[in-house]
């Protein structure tokens, strides 16, 4: 402990230099922890968008559903999808099961027809678990979207919600009558007249140009699908158990493929990798700055205390104990810097979140979002440990220099 006390006193002796070094450590901590909070917001937003965008926590699908395209409607489907959904709803870990049918075809206003990608959903369950309302609200603000509402729960209702681009292509607005055309499971051409219930803005232009949503009843009539469903989106009671429940449900449902949302959300994975690369590089640069700053401080401290080290060595201090002394100085710098950095992070985070800063729309998205820096203790811990390690490494060279001093020369040092 005497070495620790000596280290602390030495840092306090050079207050200005110590303060400057601490500022570098604090700045490093602040930058990395705020970046971590921002990344957490982004990942949270993307995972919410993926889960509530239709994937659910888990998706049950036929094996091989993700390989190749369908030659005709519901070729790759769960033949007894509705019954399977009913069975899954009895599972204690499952909050709800949302059956979905995916199909494609042509949408016509008479003189003009446009190809579409359709999803059929349960009009009652879907708004409870999925992010339908936001897309509809945004769609209502576009031309022809006034009066947009969600699909009717009436099984006899034949309604459609169009992507804004698709509506524009057909000059359709809320209340317009259109015709959906596709092939049945048996390959026969079929058509259903539908009324536009609303327009939806899904945030991506490519989706808005092609995407439409109908009720399962409408799709059943169009595709003659009976009980068949393309996918079952499973909402879990405990989302944090997704990986574990995926393995368990896969065991319970032979002949199906159960996939967690993060395996299916390729955009989420790509953004995550990109962010890790960007912030990893930024972290590397910051750690390097901290390393150089603390190494400089400790080296200057060693050069100023050559005679003192000579005296300590003459008194019997082992060379490795001088190394430990410098490591203690580094440890105090790291600990104090991280503690102050954490305080600064929490204050700045609170300030930034209170400002409700609007961020620009990300690439490919049609609207921005509000900045919210998340509170992420594990990131703070990781940054503190990383900085501590960096400073300990930076203390090695000055420490070795001190340990290698020849005592008689150190005692003569002026």
């Amino acid at each position: 402990m005497i070495l620790a006390r000596l280290a602390l006193r030495n840092l306090l002796r050079q207050q200005r230099r110590t303060a400057l070094t601490l500022m570098v450590v604090v700045a490093g901590f602040l930058a990395l922890s705020l970046a971590g909070g921002f990344m957490a917001q982004t990942f949270q937003g993307l995972s919410d968008a993926a889960i509530r965008g239709g994937l659910g926590h888990l998706q049950v699908m036929p094996p091989g559903a993700l390989e190749g395209d369908e030659a005709q409607s519901l070729e790759k489907a769960l033949p007894e999808g509705e019954a399977l959904a009913q069975r899954l709803r009895q599972d204690p870990a499952v909050a709800e099961v949302l059956p979905r049918t995916q199909f494609m075809g042509l949408l016509s206003n008479g003189p003009r027809s446009v190809a579409f990608l359709g999803t059929a959903v349960d009009p009652v369950l879907e708004p409870k678990y999925m992010a339908c309302a936001e897309a509809l609200q945004n769609g209502a603000l576009t031309k022809g979207g006034v009066g947009s509402h969600w699909l009717s729960g009436d099984p006899a209702a034949r309604e459609v919600i169009l992507g804004t681009g698709l509506a524009r292509a057909l000059d359709a607005s809320v209340g317009s009558s259109l015709t959906l055309m596709s092939t049945t499971r048996e390959g026969a051409l079929n058509a259903v007249d539908v009324e536009v219930a609303g327009l939806q803005d899904l945030g991506l232009r490519e989706l808005n140009d092609r995407f439409l949503t109908v009720s399962l009843g409408t799709a059943d009539q169009l595709l003659d699908s009976a009980q068949a469903r393309s996918r079952l989106s499973v909402m879990l009671k405990r989302p944090q158990d997704t990986a574990m429940e995926q393995a368990r449900l896969q065991g319970l449902l032979p002949g199906t493929s159960v996939k967690p949302w993060f395996e299916l959300a390729s955009f989420y994975r790509q953004v995550k990798l990109l962010y890790f690369a960007i912030f990893g590089f930024m972290g590397l640069v910051l750690f390097l700055v901290v390393l150089l700053a603390t190494a400089n401080t400790l080296l200057m401290s060693v050069m100023e205390r050559v005679r003192e080290f000579g005296v300590l060595r003459a008194m019997g201090l082992q060379p490795r104990q001088l190394l430990v002394l410098l490591q203690w100085e580094g440890a105090f710098l790291g600990f104090l810097g991280s503690a102050l950095g954490l305080l600064a992070t929490l204050l700045l985070r609170a300030g930034l979140n209170a400002l409700h800063v609007q961020m620009p729309a990300p690439p490919g998205s049609s609207h921005g979002y509000e900045l919210f820096i998340h509170f992420v203790p594990w990131v703070y811990l990781l940054v503190a440990l990383g900085l501590q390690l960096t400073i300990q490494v930076s203390a090695l060279f000055p420490g070795l220099k001190a340990a290698r001093l020849r005592i008689v020369e150190a005692l003569r040092h002026v």
């Binding site: 402990m1 005497i2 000596l6 201090l317 104990q321």
Partner: protein, 222 residues
């Protein structure tokens, strides 16, 4: 107590060969011995060899009968910590520690509990007349007080041998004399051996044994 046997330690100084050459001498236990001689006569070199701060080119250094000059560095560190004390010309107290903490330092480095170290350090400071200055830092002490603190620091671990390099050179006569009297008293009182390098006549006058050196050779023992 301390024995040099045919010690040679040579080095280049300003293009000339300096050091000590074939010196043999014995310092008896409990005495105040002085290495006397002009600058460059080899006093400090012998003191550094006695303090295991340097190794001889030839010859042996024995402490309490044990050959210590060829020990590995770790063992030398341990010997310095437990059996040797140092007093330097420039005092060399650790500036960030108080007088009391400076005296406690070698005791704590020995691994003694803080309470014991404090008790012994307070006693050592009281013995050199600095009980009321124990919480002062070196910058707040006069030269004489700093040197007395250094003596307390050297003596607190109860070493066999205290090595002092020109301990009065940074002090005026009024402070140097009492300091030497104190060292002589302590040598007698504690049975500790003092080996002092000095060319100060007042130091030589108080010595029990004087080893006179000239150009790195022992020329007189008195």
């Amino acid at each position: 107590m301390l024995e040099f046997r045919a010690i040679t330690r040579a080095y280049e100084l300003g293009g000339e060969r300096a050091g000590v050459f074939g010196v043999s001498l014995t310092v008896p236990k409990g005495c105040l011995a002085v290495l006397a001689g002009p600058s460059g006569s080899g006093k400090t070199t012998l003191l550094q060899l006695a303090g295991l701060l340097d190794t001889p080119d030839e010859g042996e250094v024995r402490l309490a009968g044990e050959l210590v000059s060829s020990l590995p560095e770790k063992a030398r560190c341990d010997l310095r910590l437990r059996r040797l004390g140092f007093v330097f010309q420039a005092f060399n107290l650790v500036p960030v520690l108080s007088a009391l903490e400076n005296v406690m330092l070698p005791l704590q480095l020995q691994g003694r509990p803080e309470a014991e170290a404090r008790e012994r350090a307070e006693a050592a400071l009281a013995r050199v007349g600095l009980a009321d200055r124990r919480h002062h830092h070196p910058g707040q002490l006069s030269g004489g007080q700093q040197q007395r603190t250094a003596i307390a620091r050297a003596l607190a671990p109860e070493p066999l041998l205290v090595l002092a390099d020109e301990p009065t050179a940074s002090l005026d006569h009024a402070h140097g004399g009492p300091l030497l009297d104190l060292m002589a008293e302590l040598a007698q009182e504690r049975g500790a051996t003092f080996l002092v390098a000095s060319h100060d006549p007042s130091v030589i006058a108080r010595a029990h044994t004087v080893f006179r050196l000239l150009d790195g050779k022992l020329v007189e023992v008195g």
